[in-house]
């Protein structure tokens, strides 16, 4: 612990990141450039989220990390350990107990409160990037609110697939102004972006931070005749029987057996502890 400054980054860096966060909160959805630091992990492993978490954490915080909803995957475990070691903060897997939650690609099923901060890891912060490669041009488009191009992407989806096939990183408009990439969360989570908690987005490689203050209006883009639709696998969770959570498909063998389970492991565990049982819970128990 004594080898590191609290939460790994030095205080000047944390102040710089906090200034970017405050600016991001003041202009919801606007991508604030910041001087992203080298972190002791590769780009793509959450360096942006880790820096935002480091600048946000206080010694009294309880920290939770999820990767695709799960607390026990490599990315989540290693980032949790990183902050246990460098910040010495308490960590938890329970959503309700956490004050800062760093997430990759999911919003927890359980509704967050005003006392919590949700930190997203963002690979590509620019929603217009795949249609307009020039950064100069995309910045200009944001500045002048020229967002027609975003609908070209949705048009292409419908033309090719008969529906808006974008299933994750679904573009949203924030407070009627900035179009924002909500990071690669499934579009199932998009309606949850209007929440009580502060949401911070960090992109390490791209050196951008953006933010959503609590209760910010967030609208998923769509066409009048092809409205935004929230999608999930039409199954119940095999373990806890939930019919309203986002599900992962798990291949069980090479003979076509599969099961659908909640992607939010904490949510699923809590339900099972409450006595809920899915159709395959007994079979899964037998496997372990």
């Amino acid at each position: 612990m004594s080898e590191y400054n609290f939460a790994y980054l030095d205080e000047q860096t944390k102040r710089m990141i906090r200034r970017a966060i405050l600016k991001g909160l003041a202009i919801p959805g606007y991508q604030v450039p910041f001087a992203s630091r080298e972190m002791p992990m590769p780009y793509g492993w959450g360096t942006g989220g880790v820096q935002v978490s480091a600048a946000t954490l206080t010694p009294d915080d309880t920290f939770k990390v999820i990767d695709q909803g799960a607390d026990d995957t490599t990315n989540a475990v290693s980032i949790r350990k990183f902050f246990e070691k460098t910040a010495g903060v308490a960590t938890t897997e329970r959503t309700a107990e956490a004050t800062v939650i760093q997430t990759r690609h999911r919003i927890p099923e359980q509704e967050l409160t005003e006392d919590q901060i949700l930190v997203y890891q963002v690979p590509i912060p620019e929603p217009l990037r795949f249609l307009e490669p020039s950064e100069v041009e995309t910045r200009k488009m944001h500045a002048l609110e020229e967002y027609g191009l975003m609908h070209v992407k949705l048009y292409e989806d419908i033309a090719r697939h008969g529906e808006i096939a974008t299933a994750y990183a679904y573009p949203v408009k924030v407070e009627g102004r900035y179009v924002m990439d909500p990071s690669p969360i499934p579009k199932f989570d998009n309606p949850k972006l209007e929440m009580a908690a502060i949401q911070l987005f960090g992109a390490g490689r791209e050196q951008r931070i953006y933010a959503l203050p609590p209760y910010t209006k967030v609208v998923s883009l769509d066409f009048e005749d092809y409205p935004f639709e929230r999608t999930r696998a039409p199954q119940d969770c095999g373990l806890c029987g939930a019919n309203d959570s986002y599900l992962d498909e798990v291949i069980m063998d090479d003979a076509g057996r599969r099961m659908f389970v909640c992607s939010d492991t904490d949510f699923c565990r809590a339900r099972r502890e409450d006595g809920h049982q899915g159709a395959m819970a007994a079979a899964a128990e037998a496997l372990t």
């Binding site: 191009l149 070209v152 292409e156 419908i158 009048e224 005749d225």
Partner: protein
């Protein structure tokens, strides 16, 4: 299509337009008026400042001196001094720009329908069905068969790409079209078809257009009036037939006599 009844003022008034590249002249002291429904050709050899002039007119290049007054609801507005958001709005509503290379004017990784629909969506169209219908209509008008609507321009021939670029530009019903060598790089039979199409569209929609080209046949077919440029200066102006059949300036005479008579 357009309300053309009271033509009592020019659409575009240009005065003293100059652009310098350091000590060299891009174009110097160019002035003219363009009236609604009129097609003007700018001819001259490579390096004579045609494209510089066109880019200055279309707001893609900032001129060093001069005015470009565009008629906006009866008020002649200087597009050189207007703010960039206004100019960009103009560029996707009242103006259109047809590039020499279709790849510069199209989104090559977006389907033909998406290319045509982009300007509609940029000005607020949010009904997929309507966008699709308009895109199909415009593909038809530029003689691209409807079943190619979901193909990308990369799968199109040069002539088709150019026609798609024209459809993409005209879908919002602009009043002024800038064209930079629209037939450059196409073989003659494809050129002829494209010229025929453009002539039809210009007449039908009552478009005003400024066409930059070094091909005298193109202006003979399309342009009402002609401006001849050399070394950044306008050396001769007049009605197309008058300039081409009775050239006054020595350079124009050279230009006209350089065309091979087949």
């Amino acid at each position: 299509m357009k309300d053309m009844s009271p033509i009592d003022r020019p659409l575009l008034q240009v005065a003293g337009l100059s652009k310098y590249y350091g000590a060299r002249i891009g174009c110097e002291a160019v002035g003219f008026e363009l009236w609604p429904g009129e097609v003007m050709g700018i001819v001259g050899e490579s390096g004579s400042g045609k494209t510089t002039l066109l880019n200055c007119l279309a707001g893609q290049l900032a001129p060093d001196a001069g005015q470009v007054l565009f008629d906006l609801d009866g008020i002649a507005t200087d597009t050189v001094t207007m703010s960039e958001p206004e100019r960009r709005r103009l560029a996707r509503t009242d103006w259109a720009f047809v590039h020499q290379h279709a790849a510069d004017g199209l989104r090559m990784n977006v389907s033909a329908g998406g290319n045509v629909g982009e300007r509609l969506m940029a000005i607020g169209a949010r009904r997929y069905g309507d966008i699709r219908t308009q895109a199909l209509d415009w593909l038809g008008r530029v003689e691209i068969s409807g079943d190619r609507i979901d193909d990308r321009p990369t799968a199109f021939s040069g002539g088709m790409r150019q026609r798609l670029q024209i459809a993409r530009n005209l879908v919002t019903g602009p009043r002024l079209v800038f064209m930079d060598e629209p037939t450059g790089g196409l073989d003659v039979s494809v050129q002829a078809r494209l010229l025929d199409l453009m002539r039809g569209l210009v007449r039908e929609m009552g478009l005003s257009a400024i066409i930059v080209t070094h091909d005298l046949a193109v202006v003979r077919l399309l342009a009402d009036r002609l401006m001849v440029m050399k070394d950044g200066q306008v050396v001769e102006t007049g009605l197309t037939d008058q300039v081409l059949d009775d050239p006054q300036h020595g350079y124009t005479q050279l230009l006209v006599s350089s065309v091979l008579q087949v």
